[in-house]
Subunit: 436 residues, 2 copies
């Protein structure tokens, strides 16, 4: 199958992440897309930097029009940002019959209706998974996954910078201004953080999600926007005393007379899952009348998480361009002739850590015997807890947590420990996962 | 646009949910799909029950072959379950050129490779979003949303019955057998709960997700399966003392020598978001090399959540059948000529509850003045907290939580309260959402 040629406009953080992911995962991606997807041309004002990144894999130009006018290019990826130049270039790319992938939420929030209408008229598609929630496939979920539903409301933590600041203010009892400085030092907030901390970025994303969820035009100007800059430390503390957390939420809600669209700091019950989304992570709750509540969680920014969404859009367009409609997405995601025969490991080869509970006689030397058997299998102990014996009983419960080891080693160790005369009954073994 | 005709095989819980959702949301669904989607034929052994549900909207038959052989039917929805009859009917539907939508995880886990291969050869598609995670669009997310990634691991709470039992055992300190009985009384566990509590259902779903995530054939027979039936109450308690929760996880992990596929009770750190997924809810964590961790959360079972996934598949197939590839999914999910002009409400009309913080002189009668102003606006108070005055200060902080009210009413109330001579400075107002 003929490869898909991609032209990249702007190779900053997300652009270089996109280039890197397409290179590193080219095998996985072509197994899924049914064809190779390659960046063959890059436009960036900083030609030297662009060349340093792409080497000789792609042509580099300072002029974006070189990309747009190149007949070899199938898809234009716009990662310049802003409203002015990006808008012109996208409209030109559409006019020249290119499909467009963009991460530009600000542009779509303000000019999305114009851009989508131009694309439709020209028979091309504009995709924008990366515009909301970074690598979380929230656009696809709303647009294709929840189509059965009348969407009742959407509520999301959709600005990582604000969520990082709020998380730190709560965890450290620090003031807004101090945490903002820390966020800037760590690269989680920009030198000019206005769009993030004043809620504008979240409002851009909310306007896009509301349009998709409710079937209304994109209406950024109608969103009520309040940021977190005026939040006082004591409110975070008082909220906590009352059982709440304060999060910057983007909320879109269907009401009898119309839709509510608003971004503001919000008290939410601390026991709610979304109240426990911390740091720069994003999460979007969607309430549908049939499905009930669903939530989508992940990194809302960063080079590779955002690139993950850009490349997913590229695969979507590639599948559309190369496959018959009924074979667009393979049943098992990968092309059927490119499934892997890498084996499933037998359970003995599985590596994990373990919780072991054993009942032993309350005597000296018991622990030494047990730890010796574990050490003989190369199993090291992460934690050990010995419970007090129950009244009138001679046995005590010992709980051991091990470090990573192989199932076949723990099998041998368990067998040998159970054979010790001081051990009573069988050992309970439960596997552990850190999920890191 | 010509409507899409759907034939339903089996109209039990999920089948009647599917019928209901398609009826109730026909307007939303056709605005998204670009055409009407209607169930025109139903096959069920219980013809009387089927007729009671569908009335005169669809033809009812006892013979599934009537549906499969009907040339008017575009898509066959299989909701019979089980391995034998369902397999035969799906293969026959494929042979007669029908697209197939199914929620049958057991069948796909055992015979998926055969079924997908038959569908591909015949040029039809078999979709199965409802087979894993109920209404959560996890199949679409893995298959289309995360295509940029080399998937490193998947770990999911994918059996609601088991998760309900584990949640109750922890919350109430109850024994497995007692909670199982409770779950059966509440309809969360079947009369024969073997597949759920022994991990078989989770293993079916894991085999399907692993195939899609890693690009390997569906290999149910290679999954290591352990359920929750032998879990002792004390292990849940000890795990908690050590900072862990026990969840039944389906885990698929890429390792150097092959893939691990296993279902078993697992200790996971209590601070992890997924450790806090309670009751019958499902959640799937996916780790990709580019995107990092993403999580998908929602109802894993039930009539309408499962119907949500079945209907999403129907919309997917309808979009494939009726639209040019580049217009398959409208940019804003809904057909551009069918966007709604329902207005965005002005902020004064927004209804929510409020956190108010005010600084008042520590005198008798102050609260009476404040609550009178709120009552005049019809605003009722949910909670009130008065803080001790700081040493040497004459003012105290009062925090009020209100019930639902309109923004314009709270605006008036705030203005009047701020005008009281006993109130010092401005009132801090933060909106609240219960997210229920």
């Amino acid at each position: 199958m003929k490869p898909i040629n991609v032209g990249l406009l702007g190779i900053g953080t997300v652009g270089s992440g996109t280039f890197r992911v397409l290179q590193r995962n080219s095998e996985e991606i072509s197994r899924r897309a049914g064809c190779a997807i390659r960046i063959t041309m890059v436009a960036d004002k900083d030609v030297a930097r662009a060349k340093a990144i792409v080497g000789d894999t792609a042509q580099v130009t300072a002029d974006a029009l070189d990309v747009i006018n190149n007949p070899q290019i199938d898809i234009v990826v716009e990662l310049i940002g802003g409203y002015t130049i990006a808008r012109e270039l996208i409209l030109k790319a559409i006019a020249s019959g290119k499909h467009v992938v963009t991460a530009n939420k600000a542009l779509l929030a303000l000019h999305g209706n114009e851009i989508f209408s131009a694309a439709r008229a020209r028979g091309v598609t504009v995709t924008f998974e990366a515009a909301v929630g970074g690598g979380i496939p929230i656009i696809k979920s709303l647009r294709e996954g929840l189509t059965a539903n009348r969407i009742e409301w959407i509520a999301g933590i959709i600005n990582g910078t604000s969520n990082f600041i709020l998380s730190e203010m709560r965890a450290k009892g620090a003031a807004f201004a101090d945490v903002l400085q820390e966020a800037q030092r760590m690269g989680y907030a920009e030198a000019d953080p206005t769009f993030d901390i004043e809620g504008v970025d979240a409002a851009h994303k909310l306007a896009i999600m509301a349009a998709i969820g409710f079937g209304i035009p994109v209406q950024f100007s109608k969103v009520h926007v309040e940021g977190i800059a005026k939040l006082a430390q004591e409110d975070i503390r008082y909220a906590e005393e009352l059982g709440y957390r304060i999060k910057l939420l983007g909320i879109a809600k269907r009401k009898p007379g119309g839709f509510e669209l608003r971004v503001h700091p919000t008290l939410i019950p601390a026991r709610q899952l979304i109240a426990n989304v911390e740091g720069v992570m994003n999460a979007i709750l969607v309430k549908g009348d049939a499905v009930g509540q669903t939530m989508y969680y992940g990194a809302g920014a960063g080079a590779e998480p955002t690139a993950s969404a850009v490349v997913a859009d590229l695969v979507d367009v590639a599948r559309m361009l190369t496959a018959d409609p009924e074979h667009r997405v393979p049943h098992l995601a990968f092309q059927p002739d490119r499934l892997s025969d890498v084996p499933i490991l037998p359970m003995g080869e599985v590596e994990t850590s373990y919780y072991l509970r054993l009942r032993v006689a309350d005597k000296a030397g018991v622990l030494a015997d047990i730890t010796r058997i574990l050490a003989d299998q190369g199993i090291s102990i992460e934690a050990l807890m010995q419970k007090e014996p129950h009244a009138g009983e001679e046995h005590v419960d010992i709980i051991l947590l091990t470090h990573l080891t192989q199932e076949k080693k723990i099998d041998i160790a368990i067998q040998r420990i159970e054979a010790l005369p001081v051990v009573s009954g069988n050992i309970t073994r439960i596997r552990m996962e850190s999920l890191q």
